[in-house]
């Protein structure tokens, strides 16, 4: 074996010698990725949104709305008085509460469209500011329920008869107009076509006119067509957590490199048959090898226990993993060069890693960030690593889609290695 090989072997032996540390570098990202993956599970597996609905109106219409909200599979209405609901939201025990004001039921009748009942009711949505996304979701769902209910009533013959009769009375009582006769004729013909009124409440025993919304949605996730399945939230979080913890491995390696200068080991190595460049290259390569071992171990757990699958190109997956490992190796040289002391590397490294991980989407989904932060995230190598791994796993992309992030990561690796070796302090 050549001296360079011995230098790399030495780091691998040291990594293996610290068995508990090596295990922690694999288990920590796995545990965190598993927890985060649970949070970002697909919507059909996710928990329902809990809320309280306070009905100040108490009419048949408002009660029907509360029942419809309760029946929605995405919502869980918890029983609470208004006072309890507001207190729970304020304390963070409940994400939101909806308060239906007096007159809500009247506002939901078809006649409200003609100005009866004093116009639209204004419901209050009280939400926990830290859970705005759930408030947005519930507002949309309840609005849909209201429209469905209103449409159902319009299509009910009894309600429609009442609405037409009310419209006829309004036209008849208004000042004369040349078009009145034509409108009244249309209404009269419509009333004649309708079935006779029944004795029951509006809508009872009637199938309505079967009017349906002009546009409906069929939801379909944009994932690769594979018998193995599609989106796996763990595939996303494993990529993010792995990337972040590999960067922490790089920071530890950078600290070791600086410690070797202090301990005289670096001088000993410089007195041997290797050059400065070889010393740094060996360190970068050994860190890259360790990063690759950790990556394989983490994904082995992901494949075995969390259902992660490479639905795209295996070669692309390997290319991204290797490029990420080389970037991690080069990043250790960069940190050692720029940080110079162990203390500085610890603080600077933690800062850089957390910022890169945050912006790169390793910690939070990018959609939660403002647009300018999302744009900045594209400049982060972490974003290319996590997106590249996502493309090869659950997105099921081909080799070309893996080579792009791999190439960009290699570029970052070369940049880090060049800067780090240039500013590295030997004495």
């Amino acid at each position: 074996m050549k001296p360079l090989g011995w230098l790399i072997a030495k780091d691998l032996l040291r990594f293996r010698a610290d068995g508990r540390g090596a295990l922690a570098t694999v288990l920590t990202p796995v545990v965190l990725a598993a927890l985060l993956g649970t949070l970002f599970n697909p919507p059909d597996l996710a928990n329902t949104v809990r809320l309280a609905v306070i009905d100040r109106d108490g009419s048949a219409g408002s009660r029907a709305l509360v029942e419809a909200v309760r029946a929605d599979p995405n919502l869980e209405v918890v029983p609470a008085t208004e006072e309890e609901a507001l207190a729970d939201v304020a304390r963070g025990r409940l994400p939101l509460a909806i308060i239906l004001p007096p007159g809500s039921g009247a506002a939901l009748t078809p006649s409200a469209f003609l100005g009866a009942g004093g116009g639209p009711a204004r419901a209050e949505l009280v939400f926990d500011p830290s859970r705005k996304t759930e408030a947005d979701l519930v507002e949309g769902l309840v609005t849909r329920i209201v429209f469905e209910q209103t449409m159902s009533r319009i299509t009910d013959p009894g309600s429609l008869r009442a609405l037409l009769t009310q419209a006829r009375a309004l036209i008849s009582s208004s000042p004369p107009d040349p078009d009145d006769a034509a409108w009244l004729d249309v209404i009269d013909r419509a009333l004649r076509l309708m079935p006779p009124p029944s004795d029951g409440p509006p809508g009872a025993g009637s199938t309505g006119l079967a009017i349906s919304p002009p546009l409906t949605f069929h939801r379909r996730a944009a994932v690769v067509d594979s018998p193995l399945g599609g989106y796996n939230s763990y595939a996303h979080t494993f990529a993010g957590m792995l990337c972040m913890f590999l960067l922490f491995v790089a920071a530890d390696a950078a600290k070791e490199l600086v410690a070797e200068r202090r301990s005289g080991l670096q001088t000993r190595l410089r007195l041997s048959a290797v050059s400065r460049g070889q010393i740094l290259a060996a360190r970068a390569l050994s860190v890259a090898a360790i990063a690759l071992v950790i990556s394989l171990a983490v994904y082995a757990v992901g494949f075995a226990a969390f259902g992660i699958r490479v639905l795209g190109s295996w070669w692309g997956f390997a290319a991204v993993l290797c490029a990420q490992a080389l970037f991690v190796g080069a990043f250790s040289i960069f940190l050692a060069g720029v940080g110079r002391t162990e203390r500085t590397i610890a603080s600077l490294g933690t800062f850089a890693i957390l910022v890169m991980s945050f912006l790169g989407g390793s910690m939070l989904p990018a959609f939660l960030m403002p647009p300018w932060l999302r744009a900045l995230g594209h400049a982060m190598p972490t974003a290319w690593a996590t997106d590249g791994l996502a493309a090869m796993t659950w997105r099921g992309m081909d080799l070309a889609e893996g080579l792009v992030p791999a190439t960009i990561l290699m570029g970052y690796a070369l940049l880090c290695a060049a800067v780090g070796s240039r500013v590295f302090r030997w004495d």
Binding site: K2, A17, L265, R268, L271
Partner: protein
């Protein structure tokens, strides 16, 4: 073996070594003395080609240390003052890795590792991690690790720092053995008694300049201080007997002063000279 001519090293406004000229003959056991900050370490780094001097030259075996540092490093072995070892690795792993980095491989590497284990007397602890070794064992391993490639010239930078008397004696024996096998040894230390015990030639530097140099005998003879001889009396003999005998022999004796035994003498007498390898 080592020729230093007009060496000058500056760090900004600080002059670490100033016009230093030295000649270390082949096969010498050369003591390099000086207080902290005198320029000893900088001089060693120049010899090893780790520092490029501002002026002057350093040659090792006729090879210029600035022009051909790699060739010079093949000829020298530097025993660093710090314990430059990998704590997490075993004794054997350290020797194999450091030998490999020094360019050894195959049977030659295996042979030299065996030689180093014997030299450091660490064969019983070959699979022990370095972090579990005692300070003395680490010092011996530190020394042996620097000699794996069989250098012609060994430079020891305070190699006995923090060791027990047994390990110090072992290190002394090792250095004498190296010298006996033909190596040139440069030995730096703060302990004058170590230089007196080991070295035949000495240079003293201070503020980066050479203060004096020569054989130990020359330095002591030229100091103006009357020569002192140490005589160990057998049991029963007294200082008065010695003075009487010397006078009877016609020697002009200035004084016979009893010298109490040192604490180290007593320590070694009670604990023996064998190495203590309990971590």
């Amino acid at each position: 073996m080592i020729r230093i001519d007009g060496l000058r090293v500056t760090y900004g406004s600080l002059c670490a070594v100033d016009s230093l000229t030295l000649d270390v003959p082949r096969g010498a056991l050369f003591g390099l003395l000086g207080p902290n900050g005198a320029g000893k370490t900088t001089t060693i780094r120049c010899i090893a080609g780790l520092v490029v001097p501002s002026a002057g030259s350093v040659t090792v075996g006729g090879v210029d240390a600035v022009a051909h540092p790699a060739e010079v490093r093949r000829r020298i072995g530097v025993v660093p003052q710090q314990l430059a070892l990998y704590d997490e690795l075993t004794v054997l792993q350290n020797l194999r890795v450091l030998g490999g980095v020094l360019g050894l491989s195959g049977a030659r590497l295996a042979d030299r590792v065996e030689w180093a284990l014997e030299l450091a007397q660490l064969r019983p602890r070959v699979e022990a991690r370095v972090e579990t070794l005692s300070g003395g064992m680490k010092r011996r391993l530190n020394l042996a690790s620097s000699l794996l490639h069989g250098p012609e010239c060994v430079i020891c930078d305070e190699p006995t720092t923090g060791v027990d008397p047994q390990s110090r004696l072992h290190i002394f024996d090792t250095i004498r053995r190296l010298r006996a096998e033909g190596s040139t040894v440069v030995y730096t230390t703060h302990y004058m008694e170590e230089v007196e015990a080991l070295c035949d030639r000495v240079a003293i530097i201070d503020h980066g300049r050479l203060v004096t140099a020569g054989t130990l005998r020359e330095l002591l003879a030229g100091s103006g201080t009357p020569l002192r001889h140490s005589v160990t009396l057998r049991a029963g003999a007294s200082g008065a007997d010695l003075a009487g005998a010397l006078s009877a022999a016609g020697l002009d004796v200035d004084a016979v002063v009893p010298t109490p035994r040192s604490l180290e003498d007593i320590f070694l007498e009670r604990t023996g000279h064998s190495l203590r390898d309990e971590a």
